[in-house]
Subunit: 134 residues, 4 copies
């Protein structure tokens, strides 16, 4: 398992007139969390793209348990429980600093060859950084 | 069943450096579609809020089948298949003008009393507009 | 002079907890207005990019006179008062349907050759569509 | 003078298909920088709102000198050069970690009484935190 927690401060721009974080903005928090998880094991997503791979999101699931508010410091955890093959499954949870679970979710991402635009298997340069965790 | 299709033009702001619509932006397209579905049966979401009800999103599911591109005119369909009780379930599909299915998804929304912050049943002024469709 | 007015419906996502449109979102409304102005004279921005030109924004000015609210139907006018040479100057005004001026602003955009990444003059295929208006 | 520099990591969501940060997103970076400047002198914007004051933006100016890219760590400086009276003037600069100036800009913000919706003078609880810097 690979697990990483990142802090995200809620921006005013991310609230809506209900006075809470707009539901669509959690997709960005999840993005930040998975990028920081990768950085934590020595891979930047920028490097993945420079090596000819795009990682588009295939699906997104979110459960909104409790709202996040302006200026909250959110703890966004990303977790990979299985070594990826043709896609990578990542789960997320968002807690506030009181330890309350606000949102949970998951995404699957593919590996796409930028030239052929075709799905490929998870590249070796990613797998070699991940193997030790499983 | 209540069904409505709305057109949304992809903004440059909504693309990312992969050259496609960023996955988090579909939540906004779904919002536009459900608001226009309600408007189509004679209810504005603004009116619902003026009547003391918030409708926060409880969960979101999206499957991204194929990318949407800059300046695409998207046909975003929202569909309600059951008369709401304590929550409203809405399904969505996004097609481009070639008829290709790009994204599908669903949301559940609650009804919250703005004063008590407690969930309530779907208000009668909404149900009376919906009953004829089921 | 070339002038065009586009309608934009305020999305819930675009409001903030002050209950008004977040100031940063007007940049998107301006984008929509200038893209529709171009479309109105027979040029799509997508076509400009396909012809090897990017048009990055060089500067942005906005005056926020009065707030826009959720679900407002905004009339966003874009106006080009001079035939572009090395940059294009566009002014904007946003009114609500009561005719109240909410926001005014301007942008300058450059023409960049996608291969050389260098600024170039406004391409002839754009100028030929614009000359008749000046 | 009050001056503060905040780090902001560019999110994938904030890029556009030109492969750079979309121009409208700098308004959010400016927001983050001014909020952190205030926090640095002991005021949170959340506290200002709890004390009955909104601070809407009156105008925004941005000059985009050079693009910011995905995953860049941006150094966003906010600076207040004069003690506010009826509005607060803030200037901003965005540099990358190579020390290159990417964007500069400014905003004016008003102080609005939440009950009366009328502009008021800068509240004493803000001024008392600022006086020592001028």
């Amino acid at each position: 398992m690979i697990r990483n927690t990142t802090q995200v401060r809620v921006r005013y721009a991310e609230t809506d007139q209900m006075g809470i974080v707009y539901y669509g903005n959690y997709a960005q928090y999840f993005e930040v969390a998975r990028v920081e998880l990768l950085r934590g094991i020595g891979i930047t997503y920028a490097f993945i793209e420079k090596n000819g791979i795009f990682m588009p999101v295939l699906n997104l699931n979110c459960q909104f348990h409790s709202p996040a508010y302006y200026d909250d410091l959110l703890l966004v955890e990303a977790c990979i429980t299985e070594l990826p093959v043709t896609r990578i499954h990542i789960t997320y949870s968002v807690h506030n600093t009181d330890g309350k679970l606000l949102t949970s979710g998951s995404t699957d991402l593919a590996f796409i060859n930028q030239n052929t635009k075709r799905p490929v298997r998870c590249p070796e340069f990613i797998l070699e950084k991940m193997r030790g965790y499983f």
